[in-house]
């Protein structure tokens, strides 16, 4: 079965730097990868989606890449701010209603 793995350790970075989070998957390449942000005690919020035939997607300070050879997606936050501190979840979907989440990476941006 498909597995999805994210940086298991918390990631601390300095304000202004670029945060890079990793999402690795096994077996088949998902048709899509989605990234969500989750604040403590809240539900996840959708951020970005990238298709398997796309190399890169951007939205403001966010950038997602998708490398089917490495079976990996990278999520970047440029010019990071303390308000970006949260847990970021990667999720893969092979079909419309199928979506499997990773356990997330907890990001802390230090002022």
């Amino acid at each position: 079965s498909q597995k999805i793995e994210q940086n298991s350790e918390a990631l601390n970075i300095q304000e202004g730097k670029t945060a890079t989070l990793t999402c690795n998957y096994t077996n088949y390449s998902p048709a899509y990868l989605q990234w969500y942000r989750q604040d403590p005690g809240r539900g996840p919020v959708f951020l970005l989606l990238i298709r398997e035939n796309e190399k890169e997607k951007r939205k403001e300070r966010l950038k997602v890449t998708f490398d089917t050879t490495l079976k990996q997606s990278l999520f970047h936050i440029t010019a990071s701010q303390p308000a970006d501190s949260a847990t970021y979840l990667c999720a893969h979907s092979g079909s419309a209603r199928q979506l499997t989440f990773g356990s997330g990476t907890q990001l802390t941006v230090l002022p």
Partner: protein, 115 residues
Amino acid sequence: DAMVIQNPRYQVTQFGKPVTLSCSQTLNHNVMYWYQQKSSQAPKLLFHYYDKDFNNEADTPDNFQSRRPNTSFCFLDIRSPGLGDAAMYLCATSRDGDRGPQVRYFGPGTRLTVL
């Protein structure tokens, strides 16, 4: 604003005492999901409704049931909560019929404590 609402935000129950969590949505989405999330873990899908069709995940215990009386509302019933059922319960919606993947719109969650 269109949204997904969950009530209550915090629920405390006793071991073995039935509890119901509720979810409502104003997005008019035809798919509604219930996820269980424990600390530092991935959200785990329990079941979902596609319109009125109920779809249970193979590993969801029988202790968990769901009802969807209409498009806007969905309920999660835990018949006999155990200590291991303490978790955050997340309701989500999506709109089937869109081309491509369905983005999930989550509610704020209900934190369940079992004493």
